[in-house]
Subunit: 458 residues, 3 copies
């Protein structure tokens, strides 16, 4: 059934093992425990600085890390199992990409952010950042879901993680914009990168596989596992690397309210846009999450709870509208086949989130932030920037993210077209059986009687 | 297929958007960051009181909050997916109700508990309490599951959250009973409220939909996801708002032992009550959780581990007996159609939990509690109450909860009968296709061959 | 359908209720709150020692505990739902075994580790250890999955928990080996114990049930829920009871990198070993987890991130090779029917983990560990052992674990053969309908049309 080009027997092991070997060698050369994970260094600090074990950043961030980890592996993984015959690939390629991506991004982000004396120092914060970076790749994966081989996905991960690291360094360290929850660095970048890759890999005859592009009843329930976990733990995502104390606390709360409001807007518009007033699982599974994206930049700021709710409502509305009206147009007019609709969940809400971040930055005053200005807008606190200039830099950061996504996605898209990486034919898309030993029956849906006689009768 | 009254195209958007708009306006007027989420206020405290960031209540409660959040959205949501053709509605209406309920209860509970200088101050504890309140509504949802339109559910949420806030205020602040895990305020109130609503909405011809009321093999496995999450995280539920230190620690442990013992009792009685000695998934999915309800009041007290295990065993036994013998009687004699059997999981165990709480309060002595009396029974510590009087007040609180549930449920039930809210006909219950775009086939089970020829042959 | 011997109507309630009653009595006699869960004792400490509530071990360990809890109940439970017609039993017997096991192990481990003045003192650490112990039993359950009655499983739990406690006491307190994540005490012991039990219970005519031993499409997705949770939370498992500060932090990080590398190795070898280059869900579901087992002993040591990645890669490779080549041989030559392949996921990686632990111990120097030597290798820090001797004791501990598993498993296997415990016949294995009320159709797969006419036509 699989064409020769997608036979993974040699290619997949080769790429996995060679990349893993290179990664291990680079880790051996460059990666070291940081002062909080190194036995000797931490105990030195315990003795010298009158620090206590409870000061170890582990206790401030590990619960958030595990929530983020759950979003990456369960959230993204199961969200994409909505396809009726691509559940194995969705959850398992998600697993593969993220497992490779987090190692690779430890190196890339380490070179840019954690390089001390020629070594990359790692701890809980680098783990969170590595997971964040894989989030961007998984967003792009959503755009090309079902249409790319695992080798293509690994190659995409290799390049996208690298570009993510450069883009993030420019936005956070050169432009010095704030983006704790990654509206720009993760969502906007990941979405438009994936959309451009999908454009470059455009399949004119994808209709040959369209009968497999939908869901079945239980695959939609599997997808809801992903949705609900993403929704619940998004407050942890946005707050995972914000400053200790009020910052983490406030970021969580703003995200919580944004998502709650977004959910109501999504249900409302899903029913409104349907001719018969029926709800669409695609909207609930995806658009209800846009509220997390929309406050990714601003949640750590003094957004106020009602501000968060407005942001979330707007995000739910534009996302649902996007699924209804924009996705078909992207497909038919712009030749962008966006399997999961990442433009609606991450693209537009990411831009919205960047804009909201800039607007809230604009409103920053010493009166509102007090001593907390230091944590949220250190440059304003130090008098190096005004609120207005910070807002402008926030917009600039958005442009950087978009530019990196569009240019990077184009280049990587063309790289992925190289025949050596393999690619399913237009009639083989959205089909697990190309890559997987699928239980029992190759042609039917697997869930069926196990009684052979019963099959014959049918 | 859907009757006119359940066409949600106008009603659902209208209710969602208007209520969300009202909520946002009320938040804008009343809701403010508390001293731990406000940048200026918290940094003031850091400077003045020699507080450190690690004192922020966020670090004491956020992991528990996320566990509670998981119980509300995954636990309740998936527990109700056991129905073969109502999984979309179960998990998604659960999502909708909870997302609206937590916003509304922030306001209602805020007016009663967090009102300072005309403002409601919000932080991690108000978030936990808001989630708690939605728990009561979701319990009621279990009683009417499959028989109410989403608009009816939103209206029910609006009123039930409001009544919950008043009831809780009376129990905790006027009667001054203890009820950290909500045996009375959440479980008893939520269950009897829902049962009375179900009674008022009695459907004489529900047999027309009974063929959809059961489960299929995989829907029972989806439901087990809900069950296990509720079971695992119940210790976090009961302890989420207890005092720091030994209180949270002890509450967790008591709940853990109660649930473990309850599980064995449930398996035992499930096999015992079945003519062929076979286990019933309904019992395992539900009755095994009754141990969490049964120590909802007493888990923060010096219940002792073996006391917790006795409580859990009793709860498992009465709950399983309830499913076997009481649910059919409620249906046939009292005209209470209790879809999920919330009477067995939350109603009776809630009353049991209230009673156990009163008994354990009765046994409180200065010797047992020492300096911890202040946290668990402040009025006894201050000499304002004896253990005996505290026990009496605990019983009084149960009566208050029951009264609010019965009267409130009756009134709200009659409100829900107004035709404008829409309601499925007796033959349309337990059917997702009334409210949802269901994949592919409207009449068959969705999981099926995707090959059209195959269908024709069958 | 069920043979008389597996009718559970009397036996299962009898065993559950009698064992629960004995457990409650033993708890009443022996189990007491420890100084951190007892109201009086903790408040004494607050007053005397200038301790604060944040010093309560609860805050250091509860998030890890809940992750471990999730691995035990969701992770193991759903991992085993891969069987097409044994999902109810997999997740629910897992639930039953673990709920009983954690109570019983509180007693057994308490006698060995927490016995003060004739009482067992319990708190968060004893809860984690109790969950750990049930992990070993659930590993053994994987070897006999589908071939044992619930009464047999309870009896196995009773004995295995007891042997686990003795074995663990010898390894940790007499041999004084380190094994925080239980490569030896949990994985090696649990796997070989289960394999020997399976050998003793060898079924020569199991081919009569082989048609039910495979998966269906959606059962493989349910199993992936288990896999991903085990994978994500394994860092919490290995670190749950390590020392505060750098130890917990470092253990988490080492495990994270080991698992990530293991995942790539697993995908590589799964494709490589398949004639058509297709991936096998069995490998992804299981072998990708071996990286957690392989650093169970060494993750708290100064393994270094790249060392962890080498360990994980090796584990993924040997585990995948095991599934491909060793499991069939164990079955055909050694008469060991290992349903879940626990030899590949826990057995060999457990031995590998023990060996890696010994090697890393051998490399321990004062320079590397500094003041942290006290936490990781207290005997080396005190000068009572050299690194070489510690390494030898680590190997000795492995031999102890293997000896306990082999001898204990043999004895318990023969006990389980007693007819009074019931056992399915060779043609009744892997079949829920023997123990469960299965929805609707006893012979067909349950997921099917609910329209009776439709069935007739088929």
């Amino acid at each position: 059934m699989g064409s020769h080009s997608t036979n993974m027997r040699v290619k997949l092991p080769l790429f996995c093992l060679v990349l893993e070997a290179i990664t291990i060698v680079l880790f051996a050369i460059f990666v070291r425990y940081d002062h909080e994970t190194d036995a000797s260094a931490w105990h030195q600090e315990l003795q010298n600085n009158s620090k206590t074990n409870s000061d170890n950043d582990f206790y401030y961030r590990y619960p958030s890390f595990q929530d983020v980890h759950t979003m990456i592996f369960i959230g993204f993984g199961f969200l994409m199992t909505f396809l009726k015959r691509y559940g194995f690939s969705s959850v398992a390629f998600n697993f593969l990409i993220a497992a490779f991506g987090l190692q690779w991004s430890t190196l890339i982000q380490g070179f840019f952010h954690g390089f001390h004396d020629g070594k990359i120092h790692v701890g809980i914060e680098s783990m969170i950042n590595a997971d964040f970076c894989t989030g961007a790749v998984l967003i792009s994966f959503g755009a090309v879901l079902g249409k790319t081989s695992p080798v293509q996905l690994i190659v995409m991960t290799l390049f996208e993680v690298t570009l993510f690291g450069i883009n993030e360094f420019i936005i956070l360290n050169i432009v010095e914009a704030k983006d704790a929850g990654g509206s720009m660095t993760i969502h906007t970048f990941g979405a438009y990168f994936g959309l451009v890759v999908s454009r470059v890999l455009y399949r004119p005859h994808l209709e040959k596989s369209r009968h497999r592009e939908g869901s079945v009843y239980h695959s939609d329930l599997f997808a809801m596992i992903g949705t609900i976990y993403l929704w619940m733990f998004w407050p942890s995502f946005n707050s995972a690397i914000t400053a200790h104390g009020d910052d983490q606390h406030r970021t969580v709360m703003n995200t919580y309210y944004s998502l709650a409001a977004c959910t109501l807007a999504t249900f409302a518009f899903s029913a409104l846009l349907n001719g018969e007033g029926k709800l669409d699982m695609v909207h609930i599974q995806n658009a209800a999450l846009a509220g997390g994206v929309a406050v990714g930049t601003s949640a750590e700021m003094m957004l106020t709870p009602f501000g968060a709710m407005i942001a979330g409502s707007l995000a739910g509305i534009i996302s649902t509208l996007g699924y209804k009206y924009l996705t078909p147009v992207l497909d038919s007019k712009l030749k962008i086949q966006d399997t999961c609709g990442v433009h609606n969940l991450h693209g537009m809400p990411g831009i919205l989130g960047a804009a909201i971040g800039a607007i809230v930055a604009l409103a920053a005053t010493a009166d509102i932030y007090g001593g907390g200005m230091d944590d949220v807008f250190p440059l304003i606190a130090e008098g190096k920037r005004t609120a207005q200039s910070q807002a402008l830099y926030q917009f600039l950061a958005l442009l950087v993210a978009l530019a990196f996504a569009l240019v990077g996605g184009t280049i990587v898209g063309f790289i992925l077209r190289l025949p050596c990486f393999g690619s399913p034919s237009d009639s083989e898309c959205f089909d697990d059986s190309l890559y997987w030993e699928v239980p029992e029956e190759p042609e039917h849906i697997a869930v069926r009687t196990e009684d052979p006689e019963q099959q014959t009768q049918a």
